[in-house]
Every structure is written in C-alpha cells, then in structure tokens.
C-alpha cells in the first residue's frame, strides 16, 4: 500500500527470455502490465472480457487471455509475447512469414493474439487438419480477413515445421 491508498507492488517475470519487472497496482491485468508497465505494446486489448483473444500471450507454455489474468498472478512466470516470435536478427518466424505470404492480416490488431494462440497449440498438433485449425481459431475474432488466409497460413506453417522435423 502506498501513501494514497492504492495497492502497488513490484512485479517480476521472465518475458521473452529476459527478466523484467515494474511497479503496478494489484488490479492491473497481465495485458495492461505488459503494455504499459513494460512497454511491450505488441499485445493488444480487444474486448477485456475474454472473448476476442487479441490479448493472448503464452504463460508457462499455456495460451492465456492477458485481460483475464492479473499481472500479480504471473509473478515469476515465463511469459512469451508477440515481440518474442521473430529471431534475434529480426527475421520473421516461419509462422509470421506464412502470415505475410498468405495475406493473413489486414489491420493487424488481432494478429498478435492469433499468432500466440497458434504458437502455443501448433507444436502440440503437428497433424492438425483444417477443421481443427478452425476450431482452434474460434476463440480469436478477426473482423478484417474472414479467416481463410489465417487458416491457410497456419496450415503452411505446420507443413513447413513438419518438413524441418523430417
């Protein structure tokens, strides 16, 4: 508790492999903490009630809605965000490249959440067919694309991952 009665504390976590920390109120969501506490504005907020999926990030390997989790709950966790997808030299990941090749984004606002949803789930579902990809994506709303190019990008990324594994 600080002098004005607001509950604030230092919150630390590993973000994209780096230890990061900032002071935030207890009631701040993980998404707001990443954006405004740590300046990682790639994670976007679309509805703040857990439906649209734009704020999806990966916490300890699981895709979570950054708007439904408090930052304090992620204390000490391993968090991955869209900023961590590209290689250190800036090269796009195969999934990001597939989105570019297939026109998988238009305004790009929902895209970080979709990339993180797919990044969390595709490695566990290397043989996913189109219907499974569509089911997986049904928790992410995109108003621009009509989804088809996102689905094609995901399938392409899966295939290229499969080839790399072989």
């Amino acid at each position: 508790m600080t002098h004005d009665g607001r509950h604030r504390r230092e919150i630390g976590m590993t973000v994209n492999g780096e230890p990061r920390s900032a002071v935030a109120e207890d009631r701040v969501s993980l998404a707001d903490f990443l954006r405004h506490g740590l300046g990682l504005t790639g994670t976007h907020l679309g509805c703040e009630h857990g439906v649209c999926g734009a704020c999806t990030v990966i916490v300890d390997g699981q895709a979570v809605r950054g708007c439904l989790m408090l930052a304090v709950q992620a204390e000490g966790a391993d968090v991955r965000t869209v900023e961590g997808l590209a290689a250190d030299d800036g090269a796009l990941s195969p999934l990001q490249q597939a989105f570019m090749d297939h026109h998988g984004l238009q305004c790009g606002f929902c895209t970080p959440g979709i990339l993180m949803t797919l990044s969390a789930h595709l490695p566990q579902n290397p043989d996913a067919a189109e219907a499974e990809i569509r089911e997986l994506l049904s928790g992410n709303i995109c108003r621009c694309t009509g989804y088809e190019t996102i689905v094609q990008a995901a399938l392409t990324a899966l295939r290229s991952a499969g080839e790399t594994a072989r």
Binding site: G46, V51, Q106, R143
Partner: protein, 786 residues
Amino acid sequence: MTGQAFVGQSIKRLEDPDLLRGRGQFVDDIALPGLLEAAFVRSPFAHARFSAIDVTQALEVPGVVAVFTAVDLPPELHGKRILLQVPNPAITCPVTQEPLASEEVCFVGEAVAVVIADTRHAAEDGAERVVVDWEPLGAVGHCEAALEIDAPPVHSAMGDNVAARFSLGYGDVDTAFRSAAHVFRERYDVHRGTGNPMECRGIVASYDRADGSFRVWTSTQTPHNARRALVDMFGMAEDRIRVMTPDVGGGFGPKNQMYPEEIVIPAVARLLERPVKWIEDRREHFLTTTQERDQVWEMQAAVDDDGKIQAIRGSLIHDAGAYLPWGTIMPYISASTLPGPYIIPAYKLDITVAFTSMVPTTPLRGAGRPQAVFVMERLLDLIARELKLDPAEVRDRNFIPAEAMPYEMGLTYRDGAPVIYDSGDYPEAQRRALERAGYGDFRARQEAARAEGRYIGIGIGNYVEGTGLGPFEGATVRVLSSGRVAIYSGAAATGQATRTMLSQVCADELGITPDDVDVVLGDTGVIARGAGTYASRITVNAGSSVRSAATQVRGKLLALAAAKFEVSPDALELADGEVRITGEQGDRISFAELARMTSGMPGFVLPKGVAPDLEASGYFTPQQATYSNGCHVAEVEVDPETGLVRILKYTVVHDCGTVVNPMLVDGQVQGGVAHGVGNALLERMVYDEDANPLTASFADYLMPTAETVPGCDIVHMESPTPLNPLGAKGAGEGGTIPAPAAIIAAVENALEPFGVRIATAPVTPQQIVQLIAETQQDKQEQRETA
C-alpha cells in the same frame, strides 16, 4: 522503364513486417510524458434530463486530477454541436451531438462528464463516483414505434420524430401497376449491427501553449475531416491543429466521423496543459459507436407473365438513431441502390427517416446497400416462387445487358450526379458464378440430400455498387535526397494495405520497386487536403492522384537529367532509381543526385523551367461514382432441429475494374463476406422497447468466427472504368453487400419443404426454429379447418 509492371501483381504487403513483430503503433501505444487518462460518465437512460452533476466524491479518488462537465469546457464550445457531415435540405431537424450533453441525453451511453486521472483505473473509479440527478423521459426502441402518433419525442424539444422525408424515383409507376399482370407484395425488416473493429476508438491529444497548437492522434478513417470539425469547434486556424492517424485497427465505417470524445479530449488537454488519452472499451463501443441497418421496407413489384419487372414502388422507414451525424445518406443510398443490375422501367420509393432513442446510425460497410440488395433480391425470389420460375432465370430476364453500357438509370446519386453505370457485364457475372457454384446440378443434389433427411439450399445475390466517390483525394510524391521516393496522402488506412497499393502505382510510373517507396498516410501535417477512407474510394481517388503526381515527378526527373546531359528528354529512360540515356552505356544519374541538385545546393543553377524540389501533388476529382458489381451464390445446409446454418460453398464473382493487387482484393472480398455472414445469420444489436441495449458484449452479440465463415471461391472479372486513369473501381464493401441476400435465400430454399419464408435479416437459429414451428402450426390449423 524497368519493364516490370507492379500494378496487377499480388505484391506482399509493406505493412506486414512491423505488424507481425508487434511493432505497430496504434493509438493506445502512444506514450507521451505526463500523459493523463480519461473515463467518461455516461447516461444509463435512453432519454433523460439532468440538472445537477455532483463531482465532489470523484475528486477525492486518489489519482483523479479533474472532472469536467459541459459548463467546464472552454467557452467557445458552449452551445455548439459537432459539424454535420452531409447537410441536405430534406432534413427537418439537423441535430448532432454536443461534446458533452448539457441538459438532455438521448441514448444510453451519451456522455455528460469526463474524469481525468493519472491512470485509467483511477479515472473509472472517479467516474463511478460522479452523481447525476437524472429525470428519465420516454424513449423509443424502434423506428416504426418512433413514428406512431403517441410516440414520446426522442428530443424533448421536437414535436415528432421525423428527421426527414423524401421520395426517389422515375417513370410512370401508377400506370405500370394498373396494367400489370401480377403484383407481388412483401414487407422486409433489416436490423442493426455494429462495426466492431477489433481496435475500439481512441484518441491522444496534446496542446502546446508556446505556439498555441494541438497535436491529435485519433483512430479515424478521416483525419482531415477530424481537423475540419476541430477547426469548426475551436475556431482555430487550420495550421494550429495537426491530426495524425497512427495504425488503425479496422474501421468499417463507424470511424468515419467525429465523435464527442474527439472534441472533449483536446479541450481538456488544453485546459490542463497535459497530454490526455481516452481509449474506448468494448462496452462503450457497443453503446456509443455508431451502428447501422435498421430499416423497414413495404414493397410491391408489378410484373408481367414472363417475370419481367414493370415497376417497383414502396416505402422505407430508416432508423437514424438519436442524432444525424451523417445526415440522410444511408437511406438515400439504399433507395438508389435498389434497382441494382436490373431494368426497372418505373420506380418510386417514399422514405421516412425516423429519430429513435438509440446510438446514431452512420455508414457501416455497405452503407445502406446491403438492405437494398436484400430487398431487391428477395423480391426476385418472390417473383420466381409465385410464377414457378427458376430464381436465376428471373434474374436473367431482367438484367441490364452489357451492350447497354454506359447505362443511365434515371436516378440522381448522392453526389448529385445522375446514376450512370459506367461498365460491367451483369448477366455474364451471374453466368460465371452459377457455373462455379455448380448451380446446374444443384436441384438433383438437393433432391438426393432431402432423401437422406438433409436440408440444403442455394441462393443468389446480385448487386451494383457506387464506389470511388469524390470529391477528391490527394497525394504528393517526392524524391528524397536519399534517392527513395515518398508518398504523402490524407488517405488513412485501416487495414486495406493502402501503402502497398499506392507504392505499386508509384513504382510503375518511376521505374522503381514498391520497396523503394515510403508512404506517409493520414497526417494533416504532410498534405493540405484530404477526404478519407470510406465509400470504397481510395484506390480510385488516391491511386489516381499518385499516378498523376508520379507522372509529374517523372517529367521533372527527365527535364533535369536532359539539361544535365544536354540531350532531349525523349532520349532518356527511368530504371532502377536512375535516369539513363536510352540504349547507351555510361551516362546515367541517380534519383539521389538529382534530388540533391534541386534541394537548394548553393551556387547551382536550375535548368530553365524546372521548379525546385522533385515533388508534385495530384488531386483526382472524379465527376461521378464508378460502379462495381458482382454475383454471390451461397449453398447452405440447415438443421431444422437447432436452426443452425452451415455454409457449404460460397462463390463470388466480383468486378471492380482494374485490379491493382489481386491478393489485396481477394482479402477485401473474403473479409467483406465474413461481415455479410454476420449480417445474415448472427449479428443483431438488440434493444428493448425503452431502447436499452441488451447485447453490449461479445458474449451476447455474436461475431463471425473461423468456424462460421467459409473460404470463398473468388473470381475476378475486370471491366476497367473509363472514369479514371487506373481503370479501377472500389472493392472494399462488395463482399458484404449481397451476402445476406444470398445466404438467406439459400436458407429459405433449404427449408422449402417446410414452406418457410424469410423477409428479415439477420435470421438467427432461434428465429429459424420459430419460423419452422409457425409454418407447421399454420399447416396444422389449415388441416383442422379443412
């Protein structure tokens, strides 16, 4: 020339690398030192008066800096309302919103105060503690109810709720109806939906007392119009207000106008001398961002024995909502879109625009056209059913033939010019769509499915869409001293990849590649005038302006190099960022060197007739709209138990003239269809009788998802328009416009064995189950009576 034409190619988007890496700069990503946050106090009533507003408790909340009501805003705002976008003499009461309501609120969510704090959390805590002394008044939750004789007035100063009345039409309708072999009648109801871009609205404003200037970043489709509204409101000089659009997370129409928050936030930033930010949350979006589509049509078609339409007449009630920010253009567009690709010898529509106690309506992807196309296509299906003709055949018999182009319909469009379809082949579009959709053997497939107890159906939607409206869009093209080429335009992008499209047009003209082009959009500081991104107009307008400006720059490059090499410009060519002497080795000069020569180098004398700086501006000013067209065919399966509709196959034939980037146009069409799927089957903004919104979250208002939207089979036809140098027409809305017509026709067709008729959009699973139950009950009653 490089010999490479980038126009026509599916160039990858210049926008993608930053957006994919999470490096986009959306309005909520803008961080300024000392930034404060805002939360608005909004009306919980659809209509109320208020007297006292008590802010004392709010000011005690830790972090709250200030609270402002209407009287606390700068004096020049007092008594002012936001500029009406499109005035029209038919409007009886041209009322727009105040920045903060001063004594009366007319829809749920209208703002009466704003709380400013060091964090959004604190601002919201403060907003909860503002006490308003409300006096609730009568409200109306539907446009038909608004016109009833005893309806409470939406604005208490008004005698009734009529915002405007007008008629549109041509030809001798009454004679045609008197002599018609058949007259068919139907009533159609289309309902409100939302824009719901994934990024809500938002604004950051800062005021610099040193030079008395504003900087405003706002998530808008129309930065220059935003400046126009701010200039009008604050009475300041244009050059003291700079409006910038950062990355915008979708628009779809509702971000194409000025909102109260966009006035209030700059005002309080000036009062506090601190930058202030407001980001709309999703609930506020449902309550306060404009919506569209509530219309009631009572229609009649006069038809001969062959199914040829002789005349159409009827009435349209359009729901304006509580204010008229965009005037009456949606019902006007609806009325002028109705005839579509068909020969309608005589036509008359009487239009009433009604105020209701709901958030205002303004153009939403399609802007009045989806309703009109739904009504026209449903009328054609009605004619087909009554005359026992195939729906495709009825359309064929009524199409405007390709030979009739250019075709003058007889109506005046909303830009004041006559409706003249410039190009297109409507019968061929349908023929190709039916072929791709497998229409020929569909009836056999349908029989086979029915034998298995499956209900499949097919539906057709044709449309003609006025696109590429003026008055203009501008572009400046400049060769930078680095040798790169910059484009500046007022055309703010909201996901269309406008930068990529413009860079393609520019690259072809200057013999460079799109990667050599930097595009700065939607910034009033870089170009004097702009209109904005709406009405499927940017490729036509901004694309043509870039073509024109780049052509002028090309002339300057050639003149300068010709003077330097002492040759005729005809002996030169542009390639790879250089000007060269054609066919010779050796003499060449880069754009970078030429740019440096003209940038004010001391002692250098410019060749006679060459103006300083390798820069030119173009403002393309189309004299009329270009008309895109298309045909959609939907095949669906309906589960009569649950009312669930699955789209099995969706075919689009689309003609937007010259396609600059096929990948991008496909994206616009596929995304547009998704919005149309929502309008057909899911998206219904529900208000109760007292105009309380009941679907103000994504849990209650269903958006199309990856599981409901099919991948479309998209075929481009290209009928270049003669009306602009690119031959392009608009492509941004055509995906949405006919989709509800096609999908709902398919649902009705699937349910033919039940005798279900659908004259409403959207049609949700609950409604489908109910419609089936009603027809079964009717049949039961008929049997009992017999």
